[in-house]
Amino acid sequence: MQLLVNGEHVHFEEGKTLAGLLRQLGYSGETFAVALNGDFVPRTTYEKTSLTAGDNLDIVAPVVGG
């Protein structure tokens, strides 16, 4: 199935969780956070958050800011 991750199309196996997607994409550590379809997803729920085709994910990390 197709997902949108940070605005780009990503192919991902159906029926797998957000934790699986993050592993597939290479995210590790705790310096990122996730929103699914515009809503925050707590880190503790990655394993039980299932994804469906067309889901829109934002994965963010610290940057400079004013």
């Binding site: 940070n6 605005g7 994409l25 290479g26 995210y27 590790s28 705790e30 310096t31 990122f32 956070a33 996730v34 929103a35 515009g38 809503d39 925050f40 707590p42 880190r43 934002d58 994965i59 963010v60 990390a61 610290p62 940057v63 400079v64 800011g65 004013g66």
Partner: protein, 269 residues
Amino acid sequence: MHDKLKLYGKAFDSRLLVGTALYPSPAIMRESIAASGSEIITLSLRRQSPGQQQGKMIWDYIRKSGCQLLPNTAGCKTPKEVIALAEMSREIFGTDWLKLEVIGDDYNLQPDPFGLIEAARELVKRGFKVLPYCTDDLVVCRKLLDVGCEVLMPWGSPIGTGRGLMNKYNLQTLRERLPDTPLIIDAGIGAPSQACEAMEMGFDAVLLNTAIARAQNPVLMAESFRQAVASGRAARNAGLMLKRQTASPSTPTLDMPFWQQTVSSGEGL
């Protein structure tokens, strides 16, 4: 003299808050922040792919700096965007503090007062310590206090313009009408003299970024802002003289030499 800045139950010696953006290099950013003496620094979150390491380097430094982190919601235009970004910030940075920005106009980055109040209400319910970047409108500021903000950050002028305190009447009104609320001038400060003026007017602190980061020598400018803010605060505490329309000599006039009482030589004496 104990003259601490108190925000949400925490006390700070420095009354200058600085941003981390726009510096020529991470090293200059670090030196500048140190020279500013600031204990509260702003930062943000953006989309990032796993391979990008730039954010990690900056985060590693900021984490070690010991400063209070103030994540912003820059770029957000709706309360929904703000809430999601705020929650992500709290998870990553481990702080409830939030510089709330809801932008209502792309041209001058003017805060959207309606979105600001709606977002602040929800964030306070969720346990955030909200520092809203707002306009200098007294009624908007009052409503932000009503929904639970304990600190307000009215703009001096639009972000990045360096125009200083644009509407002193409104700012003075805020200071006089909200005497017990910590008020931080956020945005638009371009020169140390402007920061000093804000402090002389009685504002509790100043938040800025571009004026230091875009200076030819950011480290020296950071030091200059540190002195200006401290000087303005001291002046406020000392009590400024009242302005007068007419001159008043500072040197005593009594016993001035060369002075002779004019003797009238008129007839009849």
